[in-house]
Amino acid sequence: MQVLEEGQGKLIGWVDPDEMRKWVRENKSRELKDKRMSVSDAVSKFIKDGDFIVSGGFGHVRVAMSMVYEIMRQKKKNLAMAGKTAVHDIDLLVASGCVNKVEVAYSFGHEMRGLSPASRKKVQDGECEVVAEITNADYQWRFLAGMMGIPFIPARNMMGTDTFKKSSSKIVKCPFSNKNVTLVPSCNPDIVFIHVHRADKYGNAQIEGISVEDFELARAAKRLIITCEEIVDEEVIREKPYLTTIPFYFVDAVIEVKYGAHPCNMPYRYYFDEEHIGMWLKMSKTPEGIKEYLDKYVYGPKDFSQYLKLVGGEKKMKSLMNIENLNFNEYAEE
């Protein structure tokens, strides 16, 4: 197959499928064992400076924020991160200096809420490198190829655009259709962290609502850390096995973090904390504001439960639960 055009972006997260098979064989235990630990132990045990990390969920939805805060608290450095539509997580991790390389489908913005002042400035000042461009569909297909154990997957987009030129993909003539087709490289990230509704102590994880790309991402990961709203008995999982998006043998650590997506949206549980996100967007316009925010909400609290108290605790979460459940009257009475 002749390569017609090569994207000039840097290839990150690609692992030769045979090397990945070897890694899986040697490192991914098939044993049903208790994987519970603390968030801080999971971060210190699995995440090394320079790793390529990917956060699950989508935008401000179902994001493992306790992991994001802990990575910042432990001052991890030179991390590369997938901007696979990454919003609040990547904004904080770039602003705090933990992440300095990003492959961008969508980053440095907060969707309807506007651009991210902090991470955008880091890119414009040359302190954070955009290693490559890509699209949302192609990023999740990178993970799909990664979970399938194949080196690339064909796609029919990006051709003719600068998004392709700055990507790490290649264009070839398809041997079947004789038309041009984009080959998107597979991706097996060093570290993936995903927040889910429930899991058992072995890591069998269930998601309610859209899975976005977490089915593929979990299976493509070298190391997978699951945080969940609640840890339940194995029997609860086995009662409804069709809800299990991620079975235990993909999972390396499981941690119960109630409200662990705050200030992001946890479907069927609690809505976005617009007040908190708005405060960050306002404060992150200046270096002093960024420092003040991080000192107060990230470095100050020693763990997620202390952070939760700081942002309004159960009372706040109750009001966000009412908004999620469209119970606006009750919210008004809060």
Binding site: F58, G59, N136, T161, D162, S211, E216
Partner: protein
């Protein structure tokens, strides 16, 4: 009684009228969402709304703030995955797509990645997100954006999302599927694309807008046909529904 409305309400209304009943549409947050909801609640009750993060056919209760938020699969027929819906788009299941952009060129190519040099950006924008996917895969794309001399350009410094690329044969030569930009809606009017040249062409002017406005606020040459229509105006009922969809005026409240 004369209907009063904001400029953004007019845009939402005009966008809604481009959709069709019993067709599918890929929507983002903001105006596209509002336009699709208005279409559903007026003339297109069976418009199938699909969100890129996996929400399919929801009964959207209040305006979602993210294309993945729980409102995008509220009472939906399916809450699935990005792989699922992006594959559906690539396989030809999605008729309409909505796009926004910082800049557009005469062939409807869009830039949402960078202002200035890619290596040393003057302003770094969020990038493609799902835009390149929508621009590549949906059959008819509707672009909603503000128009001025710095946004309507002859040529872009960075093409994030394909329109017709470099003209009539552009997409086919590149290997992209059939599809492309269908309409562009700005604060002044509605544009389509000339059948032969695939260049942007004026279709209708909004109330109060003139051909001079169009020319003064563009750095590309727009085809102006001899007959230019007036954009349709919303009725009192359309405005009532729009304000039910966005009661706080998060989007439609903007002038």
């Amino acid at each position: 009684m004369e209907t009063t409305y904001t400029k953004t309400e007019l845009l939402a209304f005009v966008a809604s009228r481009m959709l069709e009943d019993k067709r599918s549409v890929f929507v983002g947050t903001g105006l596209p969402m509002i336009a699709s909801m208005l279409a559903q609640r007026t003339f297109a009750p069976n418009l199938l709304i699909i969100f890129e993060a996996g929400g399919v056919g929801p009964k959207v209760p209040t305006l979602p703030l993210s294309v993945g938020d729980s409102r995008t699969f509220y009472k939906a027929v399916s809450a699935s995955s990005m792989h699922d819906v992006m594959s559906q788009a690539q396989a030809g299941y999605i008729d309409y797509g909505f796009l926004g952009a910082a800049m557009i060129d005469k062939y409807g190519n869009l830039n949402t990645t960078v202002i200035g040099d890619w290596e040393k950006p003057k302003v770094r924008l969020p990038g493609s997100g799902g835009a390149n996917d929508i621009g590549s895969f949906c059959f008819k794309n509707i672009i909603i954006m503000r128009q001025d001399k710095n946004k309507f350009l002859d040529k872009l410094n960075f093409i994030t999302t394909p329109g017709y690329l470099d003209g009539p044969e552009g997409r086919k030569k590149a290997g992209l599927p059939e599809g492309g930009p269908y309409r562009v809606i700005t604060q002044f009017g509605v544009y389509g694309f000339d059948e032969e040249t695939k260049r942007m062409k004026l279709i209708s002017l909004h109330p109060g807008a003139t051909i001079e406005d169009i020319k003064e606020n563009s750095s590309m040459e727009i085809i102006i046909p001899s007959k230019v229509e007036r954009s349709p105006e919303p009725t009192q009922n359309d405005i009532k529904i729009l304000r039910e969809i966005d009661p706080q005026g998060l989007v439609i409240g903007n002038e």
